[in-house]
Symmetry: C2
Subunit: 214 residues, 2 copies
Amino acid sequence: MIKVKGADAGVGAMNRRKILQAAEKCFAQFGLKGTAVQLIADEAGLPKTNVLYYFKTKQELYVAVLEETLSLWNSHFDKATVNDDPAMVLAAYIAEKMEVSRTHPLASKIFAMEIINGAQNLSGYFDEEHALWMQGRLAVIDAWIAAGKLPPIEGEYLLYTIWASTQHYADFSAQITRLRGKKMTKADFENATKQVIKLVLGGCGLAVPEAFKE
Amino acid sequence: MIKVKGADAGVGAMNRRKILQAAEKCFAQFGLKGTAVQLIADEAGLPKTNVLYYFKTKQELYVAVLEETLSLWNSHFDKATVNDDPAMVLAAYIAEKMEVSRTHPLASKIFAMEIINGAQNLSGYFDEEHALWMQGRLAVIDAWIAAGKLPPIEGEYLLYTIWASTQHYADFSAQITRLRGKKMTKADFENATKQVIKLVLGGCGLAVPEAFKE
DNA sequence: GCAGGTTTTAAGCAATTTCTAAGAAAGTCT
DNA sequence: AGACTTTCTTAGAAATTGCTTAAAACCTGC
């Protein structure tokens, strides 16, 4: 049997995953420059040189982590069309993004830091993939408005608001936890999700679908 | 005449300010660990040892920068009471925060990174000052609701949404700029402010005051 | 069991970086 | 002018860190 590089079984693949997971944790807490390869190695329970065997440079490992996070952002919203109901689509999109914040807070933090620091490692993503996605989604929103399914609104700022208010629960969890005195539970997240949906849909002049009501 | 330390005139004070400004820029882009003192010195146009003369350690300089940013977050909302009009107060609060995002994006970024990284240097701030502030503001919101001036809503999540959607324009400016293809102008910010106000107040079931309408 | 590779490890180089030591220069007050 | 403080500079110690080298250990198919 021929050994396939990058397969998800075998020693190599398992170590790769262990390293990526450890790196995610470290990068989220200390940033790219602030994270020593040794730290990632300790976190992964491997010698430093072994980490560098799988990822030649720290930068390469960082980009690998970053790319993994980008894949998290696929959503049902990607495929929505004029024929869909904006209230349902937007509510579901918000719920999806809240769920990512709850289940993958580290990935969200790394992405946030990368952007705050100027997004040098995401130029390709922004200029191609993401910009096109945005164009398509804005077109759908405008089509909804033209069809009278959605009161007039600027889609651009609507999307920014959705991103901001959902990612906030991952990125700023330290602040939220400190203010509440305790971590947000899954139930808290469900409640927060309903509140965000209510705020955003209400702001758009849309009624909240039954499935997302409190 | 006795020389007063920390006065805002004289060589020392001027250099302190130059250093703080340079440090703000560097920390926002590279983070605490990612910023070398030498870099700050270059940015400030001073020798490295001179920077360390004014701030004994990099950490001390970082905390000084951080504390400066905290002072930016005073707001008229701090003093609002039940007797005020929630729509006016909240709209003004959003507008204020948007203005901070426009005029002090670097400070916002540093604060954001600090929280993403676990807010180790803000424990005092959160546990005392900020938690009390939050308690007071939530009480006002609840009082508005009790007085029938504001439809029932969870103040906590409302505040999170306001923070998130306003700070987003500072913290994620790199993403926004890339998606738009150009930087947001002052006029763009005014427009964005109106949109955020419309979304949030609409979500609360409040009418947008004339002064903040588009 | 051995020849091919893959994976693991120890040792360490070269560059960077924080911070100190110590004194020179400049300014300030009496 | 002379004493004193503040500011600036030079030189370098001590620690950290990314990455390399090179060899050992481990597979795996035959």
